[in-house]
Symmetry: C2
Subunit: 836 residues, 2 copies
């Protein structure tokens, strides 16, 4: 999406209304009204504008053609399709016009806001554009807000949405495909080279599938247009079950009729902003929704739309913050995993501070600050109406800029030494995990990781502590297993110096290229304090067994770069009472939602990409799990430990060379149970590790503990285990995740799987198996059979055990009900394994 | 699977036990014991045998290697992995053996039942096999039933299942991959050229994912082996929530530990048959399961296994009918949609009739009769033990044969004139629907449909009735629109003759090839009673307008062969008070489960195949919907009407040629709501039609009404709308199906989608947005700001409307909770449209 402001901050948009345009028309300037208002917006510091595509003239014509005029006093049927009343009115004139329009959908010039195109020099914009500017340049178009893609009147919906579409290449130019209002508007917006259009908000949960289908058809038929769905963050008036009619005024029976519904229950004035009237008390069927549930319901509408559009990357959200936000960050966190490209912020969402200036309430402040990470376009609306006593229109955008500058993400990104700063540009970027055992790393890779100040500081501290506490006097022998370009060797030497112990270092490295660097450093720096040995730590022989074995073989998930296998092979180098640094490490998982990561992983259309874990710096991500407990009371915490590896391990059967006979002891399995407090879509699992280097010194990328253990450590981004198909998880459900670490003599791989459960109600269906009256023998089917034949039926006495089962089980109650599962991922290690 | 009996009936297998084999060993025959028992089984009339692959010697060795010997008096820990107790016992000798075995898994000769292979002439089998027979010939192997693929002891599970697998082509022959017990047995069975192995029953719902993963690994590593999972139709002892431990004797805490579980809770004697002890009263957490719920739970285990194995066609079920069946056909119907290749039927499932002969209880009878359609292999077990006083061993299989002969399916298939007889070989075969408007049909296609006696009889009846009731005297003009090879013309002539009316027929046909046939029939049969006209009914001009327009343009879903569009084009040929035969037709849908159809549709790995509706004669199919109502009370019936088309339609705007300006009036939409009483997997939708030809004469393939309206009509099989991804539907859930008929000037297509809902419990999470105590102003982040700045926060007063929302919504309650949805199918008509 283009904008006047290419900075790394959010763009701030002015929301231009039809009335703004018509007022501009009266100024007598020689520019067009639209150019007038847009240049005025630029002069006020806005980055861009969004404005309606059509005028009231179009609404009037469409209404006359397609709707029956409202008759006063009949509230329930104010709007009705022309087609519906045809048989009664026998007035074909409007319907004939509509059919002619449906066949050849053309706007009249006064029905659209923008018509002037082509060469035009705008003085105010000269600094951005050198040669030309037309009215639609970098404008975001707002599609007619009165279009109801989800009305329950089928014929109105047909005239609203695209009924059909041109299939490119299939037809000659003579083919005129039927395109109705929405398609007509998008088609005109495309003609104007508008990049993004904002669609009217979905209003009717009962017909969201229709809305979604129409949007999907538009994405297919307008292959270069970005569509943003305007969505109020919640709609208090829709506080019912998803299948109940949304409007309390509906007079229709609730049972869906198999025939097309022909009456409309919506009021004739379609509010462009969400309905804020709280009218739950007038509803009867189910309990009124809490604010959190309403936000979940709003998200559910979005989820349905984008799912039906198959996560199309051209589809995004214009999140409407008109309703006041709750103080519950957890329910709002879900939006960080969604494609929120616009935030619609009306002046009414601001409150006055003590001095009368417009500021946002705390929850909205926090939400905006968190959203800044994703650089949404913020649309300010109604800010020229002066509803706050102090500060001009400019005060609103200045306040937004203030929130940006003071957000933790922006501050962290601007501060050197933070992960956020280090990882600029790597957010949500999928990287294949390193396989340092199979591949020899490049020097640049070593260099990147050697930049990490925290990791090596902690290693030095661990070695220092181990040396200081070493139980014997005299010479201590250290082996650095996997020395790379030497950072651990240098830290060990420093630790030796600090500890004032007599110690010697063997440095083992199997990468022949890195070994060149090591030789240089030995010659120049380390001299005879270090002995270099070239070879694989699983095969190499040392002149003596060592006291301390130091290695840095950990991956984002702990064991995923085969540290357990390598150290199994190196343990023969360590004395039986020796120390391994690290001494143990654990792998941790949490369920994750991220439409962005899901789209990235599936983007190549190759299933293999959804069977491989990735290293990712998470950003547009939401962890779905809550703090444990859950409906069953048996769920673990938000992030759960899978398994642990300890070194040295003593209980393995070894061959004469000191190597394990098989690798089966390094297989692992974990079954984790998570509480899912808010509805969400499972796209994958987030993987983290935590390692104990020595005693209380460790390394951690566990989100809740990393700051205590190894703050600002840069070397590891988390691991992302994707799922091929998104799994919908309802609010207050439970998720059981199974993950395996599997191995043979040559490979290690992970398989993962998830099942979801909900506390449902026990079946009220009764039981049909217990005959309460004596059964009546039924006649045999087929030919008559002699009475002594073995084929004659027994008199049908229910066996004892059967009825006892029945009697025991007729109690009603609740049960944890299975509601879905993923497929088994990376089954059999087909696509992702790590060579030993 | 090969069998000795190639007939179209089920094969009956004898279940041979280790004790049968060891008794045979003592007969002194010069054949091997296994050959002795198998030839004896053949002589008793069995079609084949299944027998255990391994002996007790193997069980003993494996137990000694991998388990700790049980210590009397310690019930809770009878079995424990060797590895577990290593640290305590420090006895490595068994573990060393186990590691050696894990590295090189080889049976000793006395550990398997079959060893003799190669050239061997068996006299008793000469009539079947001319040259050779070995012990394993056409035997189904039963894998060691004591293998626990789902035990909660990780190390035992590892020694049981395959830990790893050989990747064909990746390694040299020297690579010895680790293969443990299951893989070792399957590998040996493969070596014997055994085609199918029956795996031990899953026992532990908590670890079903582990069982499934192991099975999937076996399917990958044994690429030619068929695997059948033995599954008791229900397990009364597992009457709990799916996530609770299955065994009531478990002493473990319920909270899953992130570390590996190391204690085993299973008893040491693993019953080969399911546990029938009803012990629900000793459980506390949730309500005990009803028998129906237990059957659903058993199916859920199967569903999880086959889903994790990605619907592998080599995976099937050996359904174990040891537990007595309930009298509830609806809960048992689900098994008809599954790959039940074996039915395990012990003598204990039989009861004695009045004469003492073994017969089955009514529910089992009905189940077996219904299952016959799928020709399962029936395994009779324990039938030689003489538990029934009358009838020898032979009585059991004779009784099964009797059930077969008297089943309605077999009887219908053997009776000519029935659909079942006509459709032999077409069951579950996916056919692309005809497109008679776009393609000119072949003569053979016409011939097939002309065989239908009922359809043309009803057409003749409708024309006869219309003629008889015609309101004017004098000449009546009929047009047969789409005459094909002439069957409708002939029936119209016959109706004219019967009605004694003066009538004349125009016969219109656009297929030039069929028109040749028509000309022949006119010359030879019809003479001047019929005028033939060549051309498309939408373009052709007749010499006069007609009184009755007869057409047969219906597809399986009514309008899917474009009858509405063709008749729109032909209506100008009909007088304004004329009659169309048919006068209307409706489309009907029901949600459907069928692993077979799902596998068929996805078999080519081309997504397009899952976006196209198919014509299918349903067999291995289960309709998931119940009779309406549902938790919300708002669900429609089992099969629901989508929409209707009527002819002539009068309310359309027409152009001067009498044709509609656009086709938008033929667009349709239906939203249907189904109750799903029993857990199932949605694989697609079943589509049916019903047509009114004239007054009360019609055509119908609606399963509940076809027999009243057009019994034994052969021309239409139902339509199958597939879903790309199976959707799990819990018991007592609701399914909302949306389906669209969409159109442009040149094409018609369907799109379909489904959403599932469950009555869950309202969130108990409370609401965090209503501060009950006055909020404390928090300090600003960032630099201090002057007190008059617009950037100072407001004192955080919750707006009025916010708290009013909160107060209204804090009531607890139940709600219909969304739990999943399919993707939008055939979105944009990409793959499946019908040309106009």
């Amino acid at each position: 999406m283009s904008s006047w402001n290419p900075s790394q901050y959010s763009s701030i948009f002015a929301h231009i209304t039809l009335s703004d345009i018509s007022q501009a028309r009266t100024t007598g300037s020689n520019e067009s009204p639209v150019l007038e208002v847009t240049s005025e917006a630029r002069s006020k510091g806005y980055d861009s504008v969004c404005l309606p595509l059509t005028t009231d003239a179009w609404k009037k014509r469409w209404t006359n053609m397609c709707l029956v005029p409202s008759s006063p006093g009949d509230d329930k049927k104010k709007r009705e399709s022309r087609r519906e009343s045809k048989l009664m009115s026998r007035d074909f004139s409007a319907e004939k016009k509509a059919e002619a329009w449906r066949e050849k959908p053309v706007f009249e010039a006064n029905e659209v806001t923008m018509t002037r195109l082509g060469e035009f020099t705008c003085i105010a914009a000269l600094n951005f554009y050198n040669n030309r500017l037309d009215e639609a340049e970098s404008v975001t178009a707002i599609i007619s807000e009165w279009l109801e893609l989800d009305t329950d009147d089928d014929w109105i919906r047909l005239d609203t949405e695209i009924v059909s579409q041109t299939r490119l290449g299939l037809f000659s130019d003579n083919d005129v495909s039927l395109r109705q209002a929405l398609h007509q508007e998008l088609s005109y917006a495309s003609y104007l080279n508008i990049q993004t259009a904002i669609l009217p908000a979905p209003r009717n949960r009962q017909y969201t599938a229709c809305y979604a289908r129409a949007v999907n058809a538009c994405l297919q038929s307008s292959p270069f247009m970005n569509l943003a769905i305007r969505l109020p963050i919640y709609d208090p008036s829709a506080a019912q079950d998803p299948l109940s009619p949304a409007s309390p005024s509906s007079g229709r029976p609730l049972l869906p009729s198999p025939k097309i519904q022909r009456t409309s229950s919506l009021s004739s004035s379609l509010p462009p902003t969400p309905r804020l009237v709280v009218s739950q008390s007038s509803q009867n069927t189910s309990h009124p929704k809490t604010l959190e549930e309403q936000i979940d319901a709003s998200w559910e509408i979005w989820d349905l739309i984008r799912s039906l559009c198959d996560y199309n990357p051209r589809l995004s959200l214009a999140l409407d913050l008109t309703p006041p936000l709750p103080n519950s960050p957890s329910v709002l966190g879900k939006w960080s995993a969604e494609a929120v490209r616009y935030i619609f912020l009306p002046a009414s969402a601001f409150i006055a501070n003590a001095k009368g200036y417009p500021v946002l309430p705390k929850p909205t402040q926090a939400f905006i600050r968190d959203s800044i990470t994703h650089r949404p376009n913020i649309i300010l609306s109604g800010v020229s109406s002066g509803i706050h006593s102090k500060g001009s229109e400019v005060a609103y955008s200045q306040y937004i800029r203030h929130l940006e500058r003071t957000s933790t993400v922006v501050q962290a990104a601007e501060k050197s030494g933070t992960v956020e700063n280090f990882a600029q540009g790597y957010q949500d970027y999928l990287q294949a995990p390193l396989q340092p055992l199979m591949d020899n790393l490049q020097s640049i890779t070593y260099q990147t990781f050697e930049q990490d100040p925290v990791k090596y500081k902690n290693y030095e501290e661990a070695v220092y502590k181990a040396l200081s506490e070493w139980h014997e006097d005299g010479r201590i022998v250290i082996c650095v297993a996997g020395a790379g370009r030497g950072p651990l060797v240098a830290r060990c030497l420093s630790a030796i110096q600090r500890s004032k112990r007599d110690a010697f270092i063997y440095a083992v490295e199997k990468n022949p290229n890195a070994f060149v660097t090591l030789q240089g450093r030995q010659r120049n720096e380390w001299k005879d304090k270090v002995k270099l040995l070239f070879g694989d730590m699983r095969m190499i022989e040392l002149p003596e067994q060592v006291d301390i074995l130091v290695s840095e073989l950990l991956g984002s998930f702990g064991d995923n770069e085969l540290s357990p296998e390598c150290l199994d092979g190196a343990m023969r180098l360590l004395k039986s009472d020796g120390i391994s640094i690290p001494s143990s490490y654990t792998a941790h998982l949490a369920p994750l939602s991220s439409s962005k990561l899901y789209n990235e992983a599936k983007s190549t259309k190759d299933d293999k990409n959804l069977e491989t874990p990735y290293v990712v710096m998470f950003q547009a991500v939401n962890l779905l799990s809550g703090n444990g407990g859950g409906p069953s009371g048996q769920c673990g915490p938000r992030i759960q430990e899978c398994w642990e590896f300890e070194h040295p391990r003593k209980e393995t059967v070894l061959d004469p060379q000191g190597l394990p006979l098989t690798n089966s002891h390094n297989a692992r399995f974990a079954k984790l149970r998570f509480h899912i407090p808010h509805a969400g879509v499972l796209h994958g699992l987030a993987g983290y590790f935590e390692a104990v280097l020595y005693r209380n010194i460790g390394l951690s990328i566990h989100p809740h503990r990393k700051d205590q253990i190894s703050k600002d450590m840069l070397s590891w981004f988390p691991l992302f285990f994707p799922f091929k198909e998104p799994l919908y998880l309802p609010s207050n459900s439970e998720l059981q995740v199974s993950i395996w670490r599997l191995t043979n003599q040559r490979q290690v791989w992970y398989e993962w799987h998830a099942e979801s459960f909900l506390y449902g109600l026990g079946s009220d269906l009764g039981l049909t198996s217990a005959p309460s009256t004596p059964p009546i023998p039924t006649p045999n089917v087929g030919a008559p059979i002699a009475t002594s034949s073995p084929l004659i039926d027994a008199v049908d006495i229910a066996p004892e055990r059967r009825s006892s089962v029945v009697l025991d089980t007729l109690l009603p109650g609740r049960a944890l009900v299975k509601i879905g599962h993923t497929s088994l991922h990376n089954a059999g290690g087909r696509s992702s394994w790590i060579g030993l």
